[in-house]
Symmetry: none
Subunit: 379 residues, 2 copies
DNA sequence: CAGGCTGGTGAATCCTGAT
DNA sequence: AATCAGGATTCACCAGCCT
């Protein structure tokens, strides 16, 4: 049990609505209102939530309008404020419940457009979430603005947030870098909209008005979850989140009110084939490599006490001592990291990459020695 | 007098704080707090407001680059707020005053990052503004994420809003289209950050920590104002808004509390000459080259993880992994370029033309797939 | 002079585990 | 809870200098 999970259990025990620790049923759709459905789940059981909440105030009128307000007889401005207030109430309700069911180190993604994303963003900050990034989904082929009255609305915004400021969230940095031709993945993603074969149809018409592309969920999930994690989508629609989760070996829970969406989603996920284990492995795993103390290189005679190390430009030299510390001619000393930092006047230094030694083929880094050591001792 | 201006006068007359119709003094800096300064202006006298308010960054300790130097962070007092509530109060105060001085058909631009933009967006909706677009400023050269903890924060968000829903705002559609090589201008703009000669210095150090690029203001002003319009900037700083306004033949009013910023701004605007051809070219948008990372083919399911790639003569084979890296049977791995080079013993390799996959009609290059991807998504 | 190399820098909520 | 030490981590652009 990790520290995080321990904390989690302790919190649950204290909470008024604590539930007995039962195995969470995953890979299924809860056919219910999103707040009610989430309320049926125990505290801190979800690793990641992806939410694509509605924002069409007209269609959802009943849902968002507060009790007893008169629709017809109000002034425009008042009506607008009223509607915003109702939308905010709805937003806070599901964000609150979502935060409760998130594990301490879980994260939340929300996608929206300028109609609702600012309200959602402010609300989630107020609820205690900590924003990690806002991500811009740049649509490769957006619908043009036919009337020429504004800029072509060519993007949507996603907010990625952790449960709290100090949380140790999952971010698969190397995976993202690899996916982006060995450059850091930026906050603006160019991804085509969902069309063609991928777009689900019913009787020739699109099955859902706002179906998201699988490529988007693919990147979201690959970035912020580990295989086996549980992903929840409180506005499941036709189940893009579920389909991608299954393909990527993650567990999923979908919440959706509308029966016909649920039916389409089930069929779709059924057909989404999980990738096999070997394809799932990524090139540079974030799993910690076995730690090698510098002294181990001396003990195994890969470096001898008295050997001279220097930085790549031969500005500084130091001698290796028997206990794995280094010393300079004028008496400075310390670990490979400490001395490297001291000589450069830097706050810190990675001694493994800073220090080199002379070979027939020129300078070689002690990090290469460490790699050799690992190969020999951790096959 | 336009209809808009007539409406405007009528409203002013009814308003409790109506003022005698005096000529508005423009092209000057009001050296004062932003709310106080705006309060000194009459109702409905401004055509466009560009606001770059404090972002409330909430930075922690120092941040160092991998090579040891320290990042020069924004730690100015003007960016510090105790709570979100305090920031919201400040935001609503200036938004309210800004809306009062805006002409009925005037518009407001606000720029921010994920730290503050959601609060600003929600507040301006509450104040009665009507959002027209959210615009993403994609930075061509953002600061990387040095610790590999999040996605590179590579953009900022601007909100463009009219005073009310029914307003007849200015949008120079054709100008924008011609600026964008005869394609409709999208909501994501690729513009470099302010650096080099353009960056104002004092004693060799940057004069203002958050100076915005003139290219950004150029596009904003060209899109949403007419020559002779009055543009107000309530957070003037070193006067980018004023400089661009002068060059584009717009009148400007700047509001800035800090004396030293005012001094720098005055000198700068004094020197801002009308644009010549060459500067115009610089300002013109560099249409984003759609670069396709190999990973995009996997995300869009054009290539599946586990697929086998080989060179044109079938000498080498490799398997596609989930993150866009390749791996061979005997454990060699890398990007399409790296692995191609490694296998051939060459210093470098263009993986796009080196790697192929089996089809019914024989081998096909992954470069063909890339071409298909481009064709499908960048019409 | 062209071209290459080095160094500096930009609105940044930037580590982790053991003791 | 706080402290300490190990050691992992960067992209595009510009200016200046050298070959």
């Amino acid at each position: 049990m990790t520290v995080a999970e321990k904390l989690d259990t302790e919190k649950s025990a204290k909470s008024k609505r604590s539930k007995p620790p039962v195995a969470l049923e995953t890979d299924r759709i809860l056919e219910d209102d999103c707040v009610t459905a989430m309320a049926s789940l125990p505290d801190a059981c979800i690793d990641m939530i992806f939410a694509d909440p509605p924002y069409n105030l007209q269609l959802g009128g009943d849902l968002f309008r507060p009790e007893g307000s008169m629709v017809d007889a109000v002034d425009d401005d008042w009506d607008k404020f009223d509607t915003f207030a109702a939308y905010d109430k709805f937003t806070r309700a599901w964000l609150k419940e979502a935060r409760r069911i998130l594990k301490p180190n879980g994260t939340l993604w929300v996608i929206g457009s300028y109609h609702n994303i600012f309200r959602v963003g402010a609300a989630l900050q107020d609820e205690g979430y900590w924003i990690l990034n806002d991500i811009v989904w740049r649509k490769a082929n957006p619908m043009p603005n036919f009337r020429g009255t504004r800029f072509t609305n060519a993007h949507e915004t996603m907010i990625w947030a952790s449960k709290s400021e100090k949380a140790k969230y999952t971010f698969n940095y190397k995976t993202m870098k690899s996916l982006n031709d060995e450059l850091q993945m930026r906050s603006d993603w160019l991804i085509p909209i969902c069309a063609g074969q991928e777009r689900l149809k019913e009787d020739g018409k699109k099955a859902h008005p706002t179906q998201k592309p699988e490529a988007l969920l693919y990147r979201v999930m690959l970035a912020s979850t580990k295989p086996g994690d549980v992903v929840l989508d409180p506005f499941f629609g036709t189940g893009t989140t579920g389909a991608v989760a299954r393909r990527l070996g993650r567990h999923w829970i979908g919440v959706e009110r509308e029966k016909r969406y649920c039916r389409v989603a089930r069929e779709r996920i059924e057909a989404a084939l999980p990738l096999d284990e070997s394809s799932l492995t990524i090139m540079k795993s974030n799993a910690a490599q076995p730690k090698v103390p510098f002294g181990a290189l001396i003990e195994t005679d890969m470096l001898k006490p008295g050997a001279i190390l220097m930085d790549s430009k031969r500005r500084w030299k130091a001698e290796v001592r028997i206990d794995g510390s280094l010393t300079t001619k004028n008496g400075k000393e310390g670990s490979i990291h400490k001395l490297g930092a001291l000589l450069q006047g830097a706050p810190s230094c990675n001694g493994w990459t800073f220090w080199h030694f002379e070979t027939a083929d020129g300078l070689k880094s002690i990090d290469d020695l460490r790699a050799e050591y690992r190969l020999a001792h951790f096959p």
